[in-house]
């Protein structure tokens, strides 16, 4: 490697050397939880871009944690919703699917199952991404969510999510969630939160994919 390409290696602005894969991912925003009631990405706010700039957006979840007191009867869910009014309301109508694999630390209860109680059919409720999440000090959830073409005024808004989580009774659970916001209005904000209490720790990063 020589000449102008070599001269631009490691640059981060102007002309840069393309990363493997073409450098299609573009970092947009990182939100770090600290006893936060929610983490919200609103286009045009705090340097967030969530518009027609990119046809696909990806959120990464790194060690999302709740320190809520454990309650075996309560499904503490990590969840999300979309907004078409810049975050004034997170209530986009959704139809979704959710299934998961699970296995306990004790070596039992291995299964693969559809989660009929957590999918949505034309509902404006928040969509669960992780269920009964563990709240012990080292418990967390990590994964990623793809949101496709949120700015379209023609099509519904598809999303696909994979999340790995420590389930509350010391299980590993991997969740697969997909669905669509059944709206032809542009989605311009996305919010993540737990069903109760705060997001104690963890971060969510937003990336846009150059296509």
């Amino acid at each position: 490697m020589s000449g102008i390409i070599a001269q631009n290696t490691l640059d981060s602005s102007g002309l840069i050397k393309a990363q493997a894969g073409g450098g299609a991912w573009n970092f947009i925003k990182k939100l770090t939880a600290s006893a936060s009631s929610d983490l919200s990405f609103v286009d045009g706010t705090s340097d967030v871009v969530l518009d027609s700039t990119y046809k696909e957006y990806i959120f990464t979840f790194n060690n999302i944690h709740s320190d809520r007191t454990f309650d075996v009867a309560y499904s503490l869910d990590f969840q999300f919703n979309m907004s078409i009014d810049s975050g004034s309301n997170y209530n986009v109508t959704k139809t979704t699917t959710i299934f998961r694999s699970q296995h306990s630390e004790a070596g039992g209860d291995a299964s693969l199952a559809y989660q009929t109680d957590k999918d949505l059919a034309q509902s404006t409720a928040f969509q669960a991404l992780g269920l009964y999440v563990g709240t012990e000090s080292d418990n967390s959830s990590s994964g990623y969510l793809h949101l496709f073409n949120p700015s379209s005024d023609v099509f519904v808004k598809h999303f696909i999510c994979t999340l790995n989580s420590v389930y509350s009774n010391n299980f590993n659970r991997e969740y697969f969630i997909a669905g669509y916001g059944n709206t032809t209005s542009a989605v311009d904000a996305v919010q993540f939160k737990f069903t109760a209490d705060e997001i104690d720790a963890g971060d969510i990063c937003l990336y846009g994919l150059t296509t």
């Binding site: 002309l15 573009n26 790194n62 060690n63 296995h103 790995n164 420590v166 990336y207």
Partner: protein
């Protein structure tokens, strides 16, 4: 915008225009290891140009045409905690797969209890047997996919991993197997070494690439 920058807008290789606000290319290729009848392929932080620490919050391994030296081999991985000895961290994991045979005789979506672990310290299976064949009849069989690792440097949380792989499994007729393996290293120690190997014999050929994902511009 004029001149050479304008000329390079829209390119995806060579010189490209950085993303708005800088930060073009949040994926950093860290290391490629190419197998050639290797017992293991090891990625060790600080060795041989490998970074596997707090530099990146998320690391991704890409598996490209991984081929085994024997048809009973299982492709697997383990981690070693910083300051520890041996690839033997405690893992709880799940393993399920879809599969379909070339002769259309068999297909399914099923949980596979032989691939998971409950607080085990064994190598974590990413495939089942049949990955490669050394008998000369199916030398084109291989494995491709990826493994995501989250927060490896954390000293607070467990270390999650998520993998999706497609591979060939030879029986009376060759299968296409799509595996979904996830879990966590149940340790609050940082993990800074990852090893890949076959359950029997060597990794005959193939590449494993390690990337880091930036969480800043």
């Amino acid at each position: 915008m004029t001149g050479i920058i304008s000329d390079n807008v829209g390119r995806t290789s060579g010189l490209i225009k950085a993303a708005s606000g800088g930060g073009g290319g949040v994926w950093t290729k860290i290391k490629t290891l190419t197998a050639s009848a290797d017992a293991t392929l090891d990625f060790v932080d600080g060795s041989d140009d490998v970074t596997l620490d707090s530099t990146y919050p998320i690391y991704v391994f890409k598996f490209i045409n991984i081929h085994a030296a024997t048809d009973t081999a299982i492709f697997s991985f383990q981690g070693n905690a910083s300051g520890g000895s041996g690839y033997n961290e405690t893992i709880t994991s799940t393993y399920f797969e879809s599969y379909h045979q070339e002769n259309d005789a068999d297909s399914s979506l099923t949980y596979n209890t032989s691939g998971d672990q409950g607080q085990g310290t064994a190598f974590q299976n990413l495939s089942q047997q049949g990955l490669g064949v050394a008998d000369g009849t199916e030398d084109d069989m291989c494995l491709n996919g990826e493994l995501w690792l989250f927060g490896l440097s954390s000293t607070t949380f467990v270390k999650h991993f998520i993998s999706s792989i497609n591979y060939n499994d030879k029986s009376a007729s060759v299968y296409s197997n799509n595996t979904f393996v996830s879990g966590y290293f149940n340790t609050t120690s940082a993990i800074d070494e990852i090893q890949f190997k076959m359950s029997a014999d060597e990794i005959d050929s193939g590449k494993i690439k390690l990337y880091g994902l930036k969480d800043s511009a």
